[in-house]
């Protein structure tokens, strides 16, 4: 079971109070983009063993979206951060590097 902390309202709760929203930090390619970009955006998702970044929504609480960094094998949550960011904050990435040296996720390390 995941224990997540909503960065919006500060509530620390288990995952049934939240709803997963899939992979984080996707760049949308819509009308006018190349077929390769669109196909990549629409279908291609990371399915890592280890460090993963996801979107979550505090569905039963404040109702807001946020981001979470977690490990898919141990379910350890490294941290949560606001939805209004394009990439994980530096301090969180440093924290993950300490716990999982050499991790990679898409273009992030």
């Amino acid at each position: 079971m995941l224990i997540l902390t909503c960065p919006v309202c500060g509530v620390r709760a288990e995952e049934t109070e939240f709803h997963g929203g899939g992979e984080a930090h996707l760049k949308r390619f819509g009308p006018g983009s190349s077929e390769e970009d669109f196909q990549e955006y629409l279908f291609m998702r990371e399915n890592p063993r280890g460090v993963h970044f996801e979107r979550w929504r505090h569905a039963y609480g404040c109702g807001k979206w946020f981001h979470a960094a977690r490990c898919t094998t141990t379910l350890e949550v490294f941290g949560t951060y606001p939805a209004q960011t394009l990439e994980p904050p530096k301090d969180l990435r440093a924290k993950i590097s300490k716990k999982r040296p050499g991790w990679t996720w898409r273009s992030l390390t």
Binding site: T16, Y60, C62, K64
Partner: protein
């Protein structure tokens, strides 16, 4: 003119380890807007006794007060009969501020769970730490109650009060009644 009725007509359950009472007609007004806006804050302050609840908090006395729902939503509690005039007063006070005020009294139902084992009854249904130390007077928690959303706060009299959607009132009442059935003591947070 028709007279308003609560969802379950004031249902109650008392043959178990805690007492459950439906709260008859509670006035509830949702204010959506930027809670950091000075105009919004000034408008809301009188309802919270001159003070605004921070995240996860409420300032509720009996049937009046404020509860923090989310960064852009505050719940205003008032007597049922005063809801319409309170909405008008809020809208007047907000003026041109970007905000939405809606009377949701009839869209919700409210219950009081009382008795020494009230916290245990709710703890069976919600993924929340209901120990008196972790959930004390002045706090307000929106969470999941079995399969539906609910918002819970401790009252001055030691009981816990919750609100849920009106359409789910029967489900919530049945849930609470089963969780409070006789012989189902847990003994985690027995009070008094």
């Amino acid at each position: 003119m028709s007279s308003p009725v609560s969802a379950l007509g004031g249902a109650s359950f008392s043959e178990g380890i805690a007492r459950i009472d439906e709260v008859a007609l509670q006035g509830m007004i949702t204010l959506r807007g930027d809670l950091s806006d000075p105009v919004v804050q000034k408008t809301l302050k009188p309802f919270g006794d001159g003070d605004l609840p921070a995240a996860g908090e409420a300032r509720i006395e009996a049937d009046r007060g404020l509860a923090w729902m989310s960064p852009d939503e505050m719940l205003v509690l008032c007597p049922y009969a005063a809801a319409a005039e309170t909405v008008a007063a809020l809208q007047e006070a907000l003026g041109d501020a970007h905000a939405l005020v809606v009377d949701v009294s009839d869209a919700r139902a409210s219950f009081v769970v009382s008795g020494p084992q009230a916290r245990d009854v709710l703890a069976k249904l919600c993924p929340v730490d209901f120990s008196p130390a972790a959930f004390s007077l002045g706090m307000f928690r929106r969470t999941r109650m079995a399969q539906v959303p609910a918002a819970i706060w401790p009252r001055q009299d030691g009981a816990l009060q919750l609100i849920c959607f009106r359409s789910q009132a029967r489900y919530v009442f049945d849930l609470l009644s089963v969780a409070a059935q006789a012989g189902s003591e847990v003994g985690m947070h027995v009070q008094g």
